[in-house]
Each structure stands twice: as C-alpha cells, then as structure tokens.
Subunit: 349 residues, 4 copies
C-alpha cells in the first residue's frame, strides 16, 4: 500500500537485466556508446521525428532546466502553471540554468487554458527593455495533479504561444501515463501538436533514473550538449543510462508499465468514489489522485501501514472530522490486490 | 587492450548484484533510503569523521562544482593546477556554479607546490574590491597525469591555504588509486592533512556512476543540499546511488579495485621502460600514464586494436619518426594478460 | 504639463552647483572622496544609525538588486507586491543578481498586507530542498501607485517577515515623498519599523542619477561592496555621485523637493476630483496618481500638449467614451500654474 | 603632482557647461533624449559606421562586460592579456555577466602578439563539450601599461581571431590616448582593423563618468539593450550621460584632452630618461608610465607631495636603495609646470 510516489517503487526487472547486459566489455564514454545509437534511432522512430536531437540525463529537473535554458533567453519569462514542477519543486534550478523568471498562468483542473495563457502573455506587455520578454511556454503532461491535456488542448495552447512567437516545452515526467490515456501517438502528443522540446520521463515509470530530452529542431542540439556538460549532467559511463532507456523502449515496456500504473489508479478511484467521506479533487486520468477525507480515516489508514503524502492540513492534531488533502500515486509495480486492500482499510471506517 | 579511460570498462559484478538487491520493494526518495544511512555511517567510519556530511551525486563534475560552490564566494578566485579537471574538462561548470574564476598555479610533475601556490596566492594581491578575493584551493589526488601528492605535500599545500584563510577541496576522482599508493588512511590523506571537502570518486573505480561528496564541517551541509537540488543533481530514486556506494565500501572492494588498476599500470610502466623509443612523462604512481613515442609505433598498436588517447600531436599524417604523446589508463577490470599483449605489440616494432 | 515621469524633469540647480564645486582639484577614486565621508556622516545622522553602511550607485535598479543579493540566497524566494518595480520593471535584474525567484504577494491599494504576506509566506511551505526557501521581503515606499505604507503597516509587515526569520528591504525610489507624507523620521520609517536595508532614492527627487544604499547591519557591508563592484556599479569618479547626494541632504533640499512634488499632486487630485468623468484609482498620498477617464479627454489633453503615460487601454483607436487608465507623476520642478493649466484643459471637455 | 590615476582629476569645464545646459526642461527617459540622437549621429560619423549601435553606460566595467556578454556564450573562454582590466580589476564582473571564463594570452610589452594569441587559441583545443569553446578576443587599447597596438598589430590579432571564427572586443578605456598616438582614424583603429565592438572611454579622458559602447553589427543591438537593463545599467535620466558625450565629441574636445594628457606623459618620460636611477618599463606611448627607482627617491617625492601608485615593492620599510615599481598617469588637466616640478623633485636626490 505504498502510494507515496512513483519514485519509491523498484525498477522493472527487464531494466536491471539490460543494465547487467550492458555491463559487458568496453564502451566509449560521454554518450559514445553503441546503446545510445540505438536509443536515438528508436526515439526518432517512435516520435516519427527523423531529425530530432535525443539526449539522456539522470534527473527530471536536469531534463527540464537544460531544455528550458536552450529555449529561453536570460531576459525572458517562462509561462507555466502555478502547480508546475519547475515552479514548485526544483529549488530555483530553472532560474539558475535559464536566468529567466517564471510567470504563473492560472489553471483549471491543473491545466493552463488557451484563454488564461493568452491573457498572461498579453499582460506581459512588452514595454521595451523594462519588463522581461516573452519566453517559452512550459506545460506538464500528465499534470502534477494527474490530469491530462487532450491533443486539442495542447494544440490550442501551442497556438497561443506561436501567436507570440514563443517556443513550447513539455515536462513529460509522466509522459507515458498521459500517452496511454489519450491513445494517440507520441508525435500527435508532441510536435504535431506544436511542442518544440520534451522531457521524456523514464524514472517515474519503472527506470532507475533516466530522462530523455528530445528537441525537434536539431539546430539547437549543440547548445543543449554544451549546457548539459556545463551543468555537470553528462555521464562518463553513459552506457548505463542508454541501457535503461533501450530496455524501456523495447517491446513496449514503457507503455505496459504506464498502463499498469494508470489501471491501478483507475481501480483506486473507482473504489474511492464509493466512499461517501471522500472528495476527489481534479479529474485525474493518469496515475496520480488527490483526495480529501477526514483525519479519522487517515489515522486508520496510517495504522494499517498505508503510505501517501498529506498535501494540505495537519495530520497530527485536531478534530477527527477535519478533512485532509492527500496525494496517491501508483506505479507499474503495484498489484491490484494492494489497491483493494487499501480500499478495504478505507471502507472499514 | 583498452587504455582509453577508466570510465570505459564495466562496473564490478558485486556492484550490479547490489543494485539488483536494492531494487526490491519501496524506499523513500531523494536520499531518504535505508542504504544511504549505511553509506553515511561507513564513510564517517572509514574517514574517522563522525560529524562529516556525506552526499552522493551522479558525476564527478557535479561533485566538484557543488562542493566548490559551497566553499567559494562569487567574487573569489579558486586556485588550481593548469591541468585540473575543473579547469580543462568541465566546460565552465565551476564558473557556472560558483560565479568565481580560476587562478592557475604552476605545476611540477602535475602537482602544485607549496612555493608555486604561495606565489600565486600572494600575487592575487588584495586591492580592495578591484580584483577577485582569494578563494578555496582545489587539488586533484591522484592528479590528472597519474602522479600522487604525498601526505606531507598535501599538508604543506593546505598550510599555505590556511595562511591566507582559505579552504581546500580535493578532487578525488581517483582518490582510491592515490590512497593505495600512499598506504595511508583516508583521514590522513584528507582532514588530517587539512582538506575541508572531498569529491570521493567511485565512477572511475568500478561503479556505474556515483561520487560521494564529503564535507568535514557539518555547518556547510544544508547549503550543499540546496545547491545540489538547485543544480538538478538530487536523484529521486536515490537508493541506486546508495547501493553502488555501499557495495563499493563493503569488504574493501574499493581498495581491491584500485590496487588492481594501479598494478596494471605498474606492469605497463615496467614494460614501457624497457622500450628505447618510449619516453615516460611525469612520475606516475596511480593508474594513469603519459608516454611519448614515434608515430610508427602508434600506427602498429592501433592496427593491433589497442585503444588509448593521443594527447598531443597529429596521429594521422606525417613523419613516422615524429613522436606523439599518448595517455594510458587502466581500470580494475583489465587483466595482466592484456597489458602483456599490449607490450608485446609495442615491442614488435 | 509634463506628468510622464519624475525622471523627466531637471535636477535642482543646487545640485548642479554642487557638481561644479566638486569638480575642482583631485580626489581619490572609487568612493575615497572627501564628499563621501560627509555623505556617510549625514546619512547616519539623519537615519539615527551611527553604524549603518552607506553606499552610492547610479540607478535604482542597481540599488535594489545589489541590496537584495546581499540579503538573499540563490535558493530563496523574495516576497514582493505584483506591482513591485523589481518584478515589473527590471528585466530580470533581481533574478540575475540574486539567483533567487520572486513570490508575488496580493496587494490592496498597491500595498501588501500583513495577512496577504503571512499567507504567502506560509504557502511557501518548506518542503526540504524541493521548493525555494523563504528569503527577504521587499516593499516599495511610496508604492508604484503613489500610495504610502503607514509606520504601523510597515511594522506589521516586518513582524511577519521576522516571524519567518526573514530580512526586509525597502525600495525607496520615492522614499522622501513617502516620508514627508507620514511626517515621521527616517528612522521611524526604516529600522525602527524593522527594515534591514533601504534603496534611498535621489534620482526621482531632483538628482541627476544617484541612489544611496543603506544597510543597518554593518556586517553586510563588505559583501555589498564586492557585489557592487562585481556588478560594474562602482564609479571611479565617485565624487560626482557624492556631491549630488551631499547637496540633496544639505539644508533639507531633499525634503523641500519631495514636498513640492507631493503638493503638486495634491493640487492635481483636488482638481481631478471635481471632474465627473474622472475616476481616481488607489488612494495616492505621494507624487503619483492613476486616473481613469474617457478617450475623448485624452485626445484633447494630448492636443493641448500634456504628457503622461497611458497605462491601460488603446489610446489611438475606438470609442471616444471608452475609458483609459493614465498615470500622472509630478516632480519638484513643476509649478502650480502648470497643474492648473492642465486641469483647465481637462475641464474644457 | 597628482599622477595617481586619470580618474582623479576634474571633468573639463565644457562638460560641466553641457550638463548645466542639458538640465533645462523635460526629456524622455532611458535613452530617449534628444542629446542621445545627436550622440549616435556623431559616433557613427566619427567612426564612419552608419549602422553602428551606440549606447552609453556609467562605468568602464559595465561597458566591457555588457559588450562581452553580447559577444560570448556562457560556455566560451575569452582571450585576453594577463594584464587586462577585465582579468585584474573587475572583481569577476566578466564571469558574472558572460558566464564564460578567461584564457590569459602571454604579452610582450603589455600587448598580446599574433603568435601568442594563435598558440593560446590552438591550445584551447576543442575536445567536444569537455573544455570551454573559443570565444571572443578582448584587447585593451591603449594597454594598461601605456603601450599602444599599431593598426597593423590590431589587424594581425583580429585575423587570428577570425581564423578561429571568433569575435573581437576593444577595451578602449583610453581609446583616444591611443588614437592620437597613432594618428589614424577611429575607423582604422576599429572596424577596419577587424574589431567588432568597442568600449569607447570617456571617464578617464575628462568626463564625469560615461563610456560609449559601439557595436558595428547592428543585429546585436537589441541583445545589448536587454543585457544593459538586466545589469541595472540603463539610466533613467539618461540625458546627463548623453550631454557629457556630446560635449566630448564636439569641437574635438576628446582629441584635445587626450593630446594634452599624452604630451604631459611624453614630457615626464623625457625627464625620467635623464635620471640615471630610473628604469622605464614597457615602451609607453599614451598617458601611463611605469618606472622603477630606489625607495629613497620615492620617500623624497612623497614628502614633496607627489601622488602615484606603488605597483610593486614595499614602500614603507627597508633598504633605501631597494627599487620600487610605480605607475604615473597624466590627464588632460595636468599642467606642464606640474610635470616639471615633479621632475625637479625627482632630480633633487
């Protein structure tokens, strides 16, 4: 009953096997490994983007901020949701790498809307050199709250960005969870919808710690490489990153793991919806759920060994009827039984 | 016959086994894993430093620059050898993270001397706010050229630094290779010799990609943590870093691997010394050797499948008698037979 | 009828005379001029702060961002109003100098309230290293909209900051305009009210281009000096900055000029309040007024030669009844006649 | 007898008159003043560069670092002399603004040579992303030691830079002192010799504190403007900068002042050459002289009230025969009598 985060569970056994396999013999360092050639080929094929630049880094923050630094100028402002990971959870790494600032665009159901984005971009009136200039738009797919932009919504947002001559970045830490929800192609969810660069997450979906950075305009590739090195994010024994990503993209493992994670969340939601004391927040469609319920239920679940984050409210003291907000995340490794056991504990109140 | 780099060979099988073991079940993220508790305990024990702050990052550049940013102010200059990795091989990452500049201290046998350091630090005369201020001294042990500072040499350098009120950093990407050469304790080679912070390398010595950052003054710990996160270097699935370092420090694996690598280099040097056409550069005592020999030998070795870096000179064209400078690095996985085979090809000229 | 900005009018003749006087003979550079000794003495006396560090820079942005960089860490967030000059008008200079980000605190009448500040600081929940840490609070006195914090309001805000262990900065580009409104002492409006550092503006109040930076804790002085130099803001012929500030602080010139500017705005407001088509925004108490009135009035005023900024709305096209928002600023050099002439043109519609 | 610096003397009376004149009436702020239109026209005419971008800032450091940030990438290294002001006297401002590092090119007579520059640029071998990339070359004209590059030497240096695809910057803090020595045109000393951007100094040559930044490729203009604002170097009451530069360029005032300063130095050198105890360093051709002479002479000169910088050696203690190195700088305001009086005191030993 471990719902704390999709970074808490194990990597898939096939990933570990690939690592052991990749551990044979000698390889060129710093990305010059045979596995990376194959990763690049596969990513380009899967994204139908034969010219895309493809790179690997070790953390999601690194993927986001190196890509944003490649898209933004130091005098820009980057448009994102107030719930964006780049705003809330990266300890000023975006500001450090880009020199830019962030403008928070009001969200609905954890998603920017074309209207809220347009209003924010217009409000960032250009007063010569006085204010920041309009920079890239960064959106998270699936969002930090488990909701998913439809392809049409993505298209509408990138069109707003383009109206202002701005580029777009997708924080895809949970890319695949969104993709299997939409049942569209990776190309449809990215460049065909107007996205310029993607943080294509692996870590939250069954890898040990690898994110791919995909840039559809290869003219930006060299700058990305220099910024990655200058950030200390180029791995010498790069083959171990490549091997993970290679296993991920082989035999649809990435899709299978995301489907499993999403299915567990769907089961969780189905169960929670039957509980009168639970309010579901947002309209989650991936592997993250936010719910609000009385502290008495939390105490019981906690005693039963369930693990998840309290997002809002004081879990320790006060009225047992007082509601708390909690986040539940499922990953590929969770079993249906674990979800049901959790729901039984919940219903036992 | 792969002498290109100690980042080209495999990780030790025990490291892979530890990874597979660590892949069971759930863990707290971002360093809150049980394995990290054990890593911290072991590092403190091995370094006889019960209060030391211990952190893990994925690359040697990250270790160096986050530590230096924790020790330096943006208006400082950092003193290092002209051959220092932080100067030559990190694409301005030190400048990016610290805001400081580097002052190059003349080297002898790839090592700064107390005299050259004192002269450099004095020359950085303090003219109020006009020039940079004196910042930390960073030295590499073993050096980039395979030489090793004695404990007395380290002590003498750190005393110069302290005379100017400056802190000291050791880039220990090849820490263990130096340690087994000196046959001293980790404490003797670090804090007892006046070192304030260490990049304790694992990647070049049989791990997949982990470096420990050790800070002997725990008051700097929190700043380091914030700088690590802000650089994008805090891993969510941190257990996989911890597991590698734990295997490394268990049953003297780290020492065994460094001894094996150093022994291969000793065998290589012994063989090269018998070849009249070879000039050895520096006085290497770890696992790195620089040698100078005619291009005709290089061609033959290359044809035989040997791999190593040409450091200086044009390998492709020109006079077969023209000498080239090459670097040879051995790692834990190289066998004595491979060294002897290489020497036979060399001698066959 | 020039209401565009308080940076558009002339410097006071006494300032020019002081400059000419200071132009005699030789002086030490970089702040080592006799005039600066006197400036420091006077500022300390006027602010009743015998230990305060006092420095001069050439622009208001420089004053703000060097002070904030001295107060903030790169992993912090700085709390300010959404209308703050540091947010809207400094092209990411705060982010550049501090490395930090800005958190926008909702305003009422262009002022942060203790409640809105507390809510914002609490919401910046400390989640270990993930989010930014709480940094300094920066408030503008008088505000960008011409309103003025009372001493009690200042006290209440700085108490909130102190509850979170945070420092406070006052952007006093229009410091004196606020001071003469409050009829309090400089000490009461700053350190006695809990302010740690002040951008004490001169440029908008009759100088050519000088701002004093006042830091009440002298332990931060040296860091400020290094950051000023590193930003390129230390003037070699510093005497010309000192001479301006010296004239400013002599014989109450600074107070006289601010009183004149404020009186002109009071006259302007008195006149505008009699015009039914004009809505005054905010409750201005210094030398800045925002008003909303039909485009037909704007056209007439423009034709009459009046100058001011249109803040909101399209001045060129559309319905003559459509309202625009305009900003009016008065400076020391404006005459009562000019205000009355402007009001006559306004009333002539 | 004030030889300490060319920033210690007064501004020219015509400059003060121009300031007083410019103080009449209202002007647009932030560079939108009528005086600046005229400055731009004059600079373009004088430099025979009708498309050049022309901007004003308040300090020489600001001019250098904003220009360099416009020419360099954060992953570059900037080539300059070890005596360059940007290396020795700007407290890491170049690193702060550019993110780049500096590579020191050996000097002869305080000047880089084409050979030393080529060697340095070649040595900065491009090893993919590992080392910094080759960035702009920055040279100082006249140099910090009072020597002057000939037009042919400039041409030869910029050709080396161009061979590597790199841009060139001239730190012209003493531009005019060099220009009148060479008796060439500003165009010949800059863009015709391959220079891309110039810090065109005024402060050391009779202004209060203004430097022009001239960029010959107008495509870089907007980036410069944003970087100037982001550095806090855009003056609101910009007319006072424009007025100074306008007076400077009117009726050859700039040339007259530089000629006067250079003539005083020529007189000084002529006198020093007759003194057997004096060794002149370098071959100065502008308004700066370095000389070496016994401490006993220094004591006598000091007692006579002469002022200059001791560059090397301890002025206070020790053997009266021990030589010191001193720097003498003359400015427009020094009279021939003052030089002769100084020489008489020197000769009186």
């Amino acid at each position: 009953m471990f719902f704390a985060s999709d970074n808490a569970g194990p990597a898939h056994p096939k990933v570990m096997e690939a690592l052991v396999r990749a551990n044979e013999g000698y390889r060129g360092g710093y990305g010059a490994d045979a596995e990376m050639v194959e990763v690049t080929r596969l990513v380009r094929e899967i994204f139908e983007a034969p010219d895309a630049a493809v790179y690997l880094v070790g953390t999601g923050t690194a993927a986001n901020v190196i890509l944003l630094a490649t898209l933004a100028n130091p005098w820009d402002t980057i448009f994102c949701s107030p719930m964006a990971h780049i705003h809330e959870d990266e300890c000023n790494a975006p500001e450090f790498y880009t020199g830019a600032k962030l403008t928070l665009v009001p969200e609905t159901n954890a998603k920017m809307t074309p209207e809220s984005l347009r209003t924010a971009m217009e409000a960032e009136e250009i007063r010569g050199v006085h204010g920041p200039q309009r920079g890239p738009v960064s959106l998270t797919q699936a969002t930090e709250k488990g909701t998913v932009y439809s392809v049409e919504e993505l298209q509408a947002l990138t069109e707003v960005a383009k109206d202002f001559g701005c580029k777009t970045h997708m924080d895809g830490a949970r890319f695949t969870n969104a993709l299997v929800t939409l049942s569209c192609t990776p190309a449809e969810m990215t460049w065909k919808a107007g996205i310029d660069a993607v943080s294509f997450g692996g870590t939250k979906n069954g890898l040990m710690g690898v994110e791919a950075c995909i840039i559809f305009d290869p003219k930006l590739a060299w700058e990305f490489e220099l910024r990655r090195k200058r950030g200390g994010h180029l791995f010498s024994k790069h083959r171990y990153l490549s091997a993970q990503m290679l296993a991920y993209l082989t035999d649809d493992l990435w899709l299978q793991m995301a489907r499993a994670a999403n299915t567990r969340t769907a089961e969780l939601i189905a169960g929670l919806e039957t509980l009168p004391q639970v309010d579901l927040l947002y309209q989650p469609k991936a592997n993250v759920t936010f719910a609000r319920f009385p502290r008495r239920d939390h105490k019981r679940l906690q005693n039963a060994g369930a693990s998840y984050y309290i997002w809002d409210g004081d879990a320790q003291t006060g009225d047992p009827d007082e509601p708390l907000t909690a986040r539940f995340v499922t990953d590929w490794s969770m079993t249906p039984d674990q979800v049901q056991m959790f729901l039984q504990h919940f219903a036992a109140g």
